[in-house]
């Protein structure tokens, strides 16, 4: 993201209120420099970006480096509780957070569709900038491309995050052991159903808000508490079910959930039922799955509940030995069922 202010001689200011993205904004020329200088820089402003080079030179940070990337294609761009801008920040911050890393820097690449109103793009950039400041990360570099009308869909945002692991932190997907307890930081399915309610114009579900949030503060609190954390994960696409199946595969274990212990808001449960969806497969964007040593489960629950993002946390099941690596669930009626991987696509373009 290369745009010195000196380069903008003889150019009228961008008409953000009435203007649209056109192909020249992806040209590498003056129009692109102007878009970056007048629309993105004011929202993301930081010394690294202001240097205006092809990349950002960053100071050394102690600890092992972690790098994570996400492409964001959520539709619609704006939804109850958030928009693609803050989601793009939270998604990548959370990928770092669940590895135990403290997020530091983000890059952001925009693929814009010709015709996107500049006012919408500004609103998205503003939301990104705010989310980044709140999360304590800086958007230090990026890129902007424009595709012709009908070859994109408003805006796609790819973010990459770099963070650093505090000394001694070792949180990977292969460390779950039989007996470990499984916790979630709050009710499931809010993000996915906020999007679906808007897409399907479900009036009765209009109260559902996306839970999009940065989780690294919650993770830091858990780390500082000294709880023996085995695995952390944010159950995004594919929901809790897919996340737990991934962990079961990586760790070579099975799991047993208690359906009655899994928190789901009534509005989300109702909307899921109406649309024939299972909240266990619906995406979350601000929830944490934590697998902890059995003796630390109650303390972990208390720590999560003491944090604003974890006040509705619950212990939902346990890890067990299982050569088949099945995730199972004891249902409300006392039966058992297998909670399999998501097959097919339940909710396209949810993040």
């Amino acid at each position: 993201m290369n745009a010195s202010t000196k380069s903008r001689r003889y150019v009228r200011p961008l008409d953000i209120a009435h203007g649209q993205v056109d192909l020249s904004h992806g040209s590498g020329g003056r129009a692109m420099a102007q878009l970056i200088g007048e629309l993105f820089l004011p929202e993301f402003d930081n010394p690294f970006l202001r240097e205006g080079n092809d990349g950002a030179r960053l100071p050394a940070v102690p600890g092992r480096m972690v790098m994570a990337s996400d492409a964001h294609v959520v539709s619609p761009l704006f939804f109850p509780g958030g928009d693609i801008g803050c989601l793009a920040v939270h998604g990548t911050v959370n990928d770092l957070a669940v590895m135990g890393a403290q997020p530091h820097w983000l890059s952001a690449s925009f693929i814009l569709e010709e015709g996107l109103p500049l006012a919408q793009l500004q609103q998205i950039a503003r939301s990104m900038g705010r989310a980044a400041r709140e999360a304590g990360v800086a958007i230090v570099t990026g890129d902007t491309k424009v595709v012709e009308r009908g070859k994109g869909d408003g805006v796609f945002i790819a973010t990459t995050g770099v963070g650093f692991l505090p000394e001694g932190v070792e949180i990977t997907g292969d460390r779950a052991r039989p007996g470990d307890r499984i916790l979630v930081s709050g009710p499931l399915g809010d993000h996915g159903m906020a999007i679906m309610a808007q897409r399907e114009s479900l009036g009765f579900a209009s109260e559902i808000q996306s839970d999009t949030a940065a989780l690294h503060g919650l993770v830091a609190t858990l780390l500082q508490s000294g709880v023996d954390i085995r695995v952390l994960r944010d159950p995004t696409r594919g929901g809790l079910a897919t996340t737990l199946n991934e962990i079961a595969g990586q760790s070579g274990v099975g799991m047993m959930l208690q359906e009655s212990a899994i928190p789901v808001r009534p509005a989300v449960a109702g909307a899921c039922e109406f649309l024939g969806l299972d909240p266990l497969y619906v995406a979350n964007e601000g929830k944490l799955v934590a697998i902890v040593a059995p003796e630390d489960a109650d303390r972990a629950l208390a720590v999560l509940r003491a944090h604003p993002l974890g006040c509705e946390a619950a212990i939902i099941g346990l890890v067990q030995a299982d050569p088949h690596q099945f995730v199972q669930m004891t249902t409300r009626l006392g039966g058992r069922r297998i909670v399999d991987w998501l097959s097919g696509e339940q909710l396209p373009r949810i993040c």
Copy 2:
């Protein structure tokens, strides 16, 4: 990019020869795990990716860190001399290289359009993997999203690179000084005209090949030679003209080019003339602009020419004091003209 091999129980192998991308490949569920495990992992294979976590944990490397990002939307996906896969690697490697950094790690986020043939995606992934190995970088993390038919265009790839600056290397866009010499590492316009010749079906220009290449080896040679390098840049979108205007703005200087000294292949010059384009504004993907201290210009030229990627290098002009920061050119006819920023869009979706 999270896909343990254990997760793929009970699934038939992907039919790469006949299959297509569908929305389930972006779901976060089993189909996505399979796409990653069977199509991407074999091409990118490295221990960081194989860990299968939400991000990659990376070892410490000495030196100041540099981070750079690019979104790639080139159309067509395959062109003479390359494809979007190797281009996505080279583009980001080069952004790091021109800051003087040694590239180490890449992330890759894919936005796929429903209906993309899996065989094409494999060919692209294979080209990315090969380009990464040749450049000595590892693709350590990533993401895959799928959008509905007509909401994307085959595949877009956003790459982020992380590299490290050797001790004492300080190459930024604001260090050009009056008297410095301007060099290019070879003929201009090859990449852009290879794309345009294919798009416009210009038979007579079918010999033009993209110059897409990783430049960090060439940069390392120049750094090791001890030449006093002021600025390096790769003249991609907007071409040489836009790159030099950017540097002029950042450094607060003017420039004077010699048209007769600027190398352009006859086929490129011919195709440009036919299409009414100016090669100074056409994108390059494997060329270096180097601004060096006057006393080191001849040595820099010799060093560039001794490298396979710089054998047609040339000294094309000099930096001069100019409060207006104009880039000017002495034409073949002895006149002078201003070489301004690219205005508007000459060649959309060139990279």
